[in-house]
Symmetry: D2
Amino acid sequence: MQLGLVGLGKMGGNMRERIRRAGHTVLGYDRNPDVSDVSSLHELVERLDGPRVVWVMVPAGGPTQSVIDELAGLLSPGDTVVDGGNSRWTDDEKHAEQLAAHGIGFVDAGVSGGVWGLENGYALMVGGEKEHVERLQPIFEALKPEGPYGYVHAGKVGAGHFAKMVHNGIEYAMMQAYAEGWELLEKVDSVTSVREVFRSWQEGTVIRSWLLDLAVDALDEDEHLEKLRGHAEDSGEGRWTVEAAIDNAVPLPAITASLFARFASRQGDSPQMKLIAALRNQFGGHAVESSQ
Amino acid sequence: MQLGLVGLGKMGGNMRERIRRAGHTVLGYDRNPDVSDVSSLHELVERLDGPRVVWVMVPAGGPTQSVIDELAGLLSPGDTVVDGGNSRWTDDEKHAEQLAAHGIGFVDAGVSGGVWGLENGYALMVGGEKEHVERLQPIFEALKPEGPYGYVHAGKVGAGHFAKMVHNGIEYAMMQAYAEGWELLEKVDSVTSVREVFRSWQEGTVIRSWLLDLAVDALDEDEHLEKLRGHAEDSGEGRWTVEAAIDNAVPLPAITASLFARFASRQGDSPQMKLIAALRNQFGGHAVESSQ
Amino acid sequence: MQLGLVGLGKMGGNMRERIRRAGHTVLGYDRNPDVSDVSSLHELVERLDGPRVVWVMVPAGGPTQSVIDELAGLLSPGDTVVDGGNSRWTDDEKHAEQLAAHGIGFVDAGVSGGVWGLENGYALMVGGEKEHVERLQPIFEALKPEGPYGYVHAGKVGAGHFAKMVHNGIEYAMMQAYAEGWELLEKVDSVTSVREVFRSWQEGTVIRSWLLDLAVDALDEDEHLEKLRGHAEDSGEGRWTVEAAIDNAVPLPAITASLFARFASRQGDSPQMKLIAALRNQFGGHAVESSQ
Amino acid sequence: MQLGLVGLGKMGGNMRERIRRAGHTVLGYDRNPDVSDVSSLHELVERLDGPRVVWVMVPAGGPTQSVIDELAGLLSPGDTVVDGGNSRWTDDEKHAEQLAAHGIGFVDAGVSGGVWGLENGYALMVGGEKEHVERLQPIFEALKPEGPYGYVHAGKVGAGHFAKMVHNGIEYAMMQAYAEGWELLEKVDSVTSVREVFRSWQEGTVIRSWLLDLAVDALDEDEHLEKLRGHAEDSGEGRWTVEAAIDNAVPLPAITASLFARFASRQGDSPQMKLIAALRNQFGGHAVESSQ
């Protein structure tokens, strides 16, 4: 089938390639003319046969909103828009309503896979009305990994991004789990090689996983991670997961601890620990503890 | 080679079987005569050719201590004892010294694998002196999974159990990660089938793992886990991991949160939340919030 | 001076009384005619001399919004509205803009004090333009406790509710601190009377506080809190504090743990712990731990 | 009455002064001859009339153990030893048994008060047999603050140090509560002066406390704490509190979070966050998030 694809960065560019390899026609648009197949969104829409399907793969928030605003004016009733970016699930319903007012369908797709996606396929979590999702099925088939897994129609509009967001929340806590274990093992003298311990865990253990494989790769490159600073960014999804949990009164202690550990990692000096230090100075508790 | 194996419960029994399949001779002793090959520890030691190797596979603490006490009296200089149970790493050095006083070697082995171990092999994390570990190599080869992983000589005496303990601590936080994500997904209406979301994650995602596969199996048996109570036991390793972290001043927020969640799950009514409720009653904060 | 007061519930009713005792004229309106001085908001506004000051003391969210909507239509340029309810600080700027379009000033006031406020005074955290805040000064003086504390002009519009929100977040973690300590002390046999330990802490210790005094009062009524269930509600401020922290990338581990403990306390059976239990069943880890 | 006091550091020295002011005779021994009343422990014991009471006020662990070892040899049946240092409660039972073998009584006393103790009195949490505790009553009266609070016979041997330990655990979480709130308030632009907000909280609020008063003092000296580094030490009691909680399966999320925050504050670069960073590099998740 024919697909319009807006946004040809690392993700979008590779996705265009994977969909083409599956035999579909992809017309891509990007602000960067070096990678773009057309010169404008207008041209993209013009050159697609109706009913059109346009996949939006641009950063969440403002950029996604402005593409959807523009598409709402360019597309025709019966066309369908897919938001495959990392939009907050709460944006999806707004976008669906905005487009529905023009007779345009909307599907949200959480996409996982990163740099391995081109070869191994992208895991897809999709939300939307059945009729809109079904139109996209050939594209989803092209993008997803081979085999029975890697694709789910998770529910109504927003369910795709919600599922992807929770995926990322889980990812935060899994990474934190390995990281805590690694630091503890590195700290004790009796363990000769933490890297070899991690490597051994790749088979026969309860904690074997793809993330563990990646950890071993990282330790093979730099056994004690001396070249890295202990600073970790966080993307919107981790924060949104905690916010969704608060909205739903669901306790999320491990995922939240993982998010906070990232916040703390980026602080040169912790303001809150300054107040702890100040209070200790005030009551002199630490000083007076040692008497003789 | 020839091995004495003390403790033929679920783990020990299957391990005897796997070692025998690899062509070794295993003489097993258990207090339960139905499964035991010999009638006493004394007979076990008598029937093994020297230098003997005896693998102890009984519960940590008292039971392990009493077997080691007995073996210290029965074995001869040059023999080797392996503790494959879930002993605390701090016990290992004591056991090593106790046995060394009799000229007996000691190796600690953390064993992972559970009910799948018989077929798939057991992951082994081993601590001890090189000469003692090397004597056991054929047995380790028999027990471990095929391929390059699943076995590590982690370091000095205690390092095997330490590595296994950290493995279990990581396991706690990984399980908690999936559990938190599952509860949040179950809570929102827009997601039609959480089970299908979990299933889809088994390929192409960052969070694919063996534990995720098990989660899907569990949800296939009971989609909303209605037959289970939300009570989770904890074994010593989770607690010891946090204690080791405290000893080493290593922050372990996600693993500790996972341990505490298990503690809380077993309380019918939370004492600490009674005091919270009592305080709220005292200052009437909640009541006065609603004015008009 | 003259004040219109909308909302005469437990908080509003007592505040009317305290302001009157200070010699000011308060005209109160409530939907409940038994406590109301006037029959409608319209009458309230009619009977106040300009420039009017109207204090809104109704539940946050919809009720506050609808009173402000109505006041925007009834009041005149130069009048001032105070929101003394528990509104989210993000609502304040909207309300200020909405009223400013009609030439009406806006002040937000976080109010603490509960049932003790009538006698001891209410702590006030106020946000808004200096000119609007100054008009209210006589009322703030009437409401606040005697002495140098209990009142702050915290900053711009929203700063009052933000400060009160953080106050409540701190309150959550302080209550949790005492509650955790209490449970631990109750758990050990060697401590004969936890109530007497708490009582003794009221002087000479680092942790003496008004909340501790309340805890002793509660334990005096019911030493082991046997009449209470361990269920604790949470108001919006605790949740908003965590959300504000996430927006600002500030780690808030203790306050968030306190919020999550309340969430968990209200769950009959924990869904997430069901998945933990299910995973444990799948790999049989707990069962296979005990061998002999 | 007459008291022997071993250890005349900041705490012991001030305690000697306060007990003397109450009219008792204190014979103090310290390794530092400048402050010591006697030249040796032996002389101290010689010069006390029987039945003697000796208060030990030296650092926990080795120093306390060696003083108790020595006293066990020097004292006579009927004498009583008080350990007023910060010993772990699990040491108390050992010390009680060790001394009981010589007919010597033992009392453990947790002491709070710091540099204010001399003037305001020391809060005392005491454990031991009734007969031994009663002998000390005049000294406890001299040390404690005036009024009905500040002293408790908490229970059996060990209960005094256990109660003091929990006191310190609660202290950690209360300090963390204020610190988290302070950082959040400092972060937002709308709040003009966080110091003034803290000051205002000293009356009429739910969170007023002695620690809050100290926080205001600290902010008065250095409003934004620019002269301090955000590094906080921890003493044994915080760690022991968490360990006691683990032994008793009591969840302690806020206290433990406070302990871990201190651990993290002392790390120049967080090892665990290096692994998080390494994993993010491996799957390139952060890079591929931004597409267009």
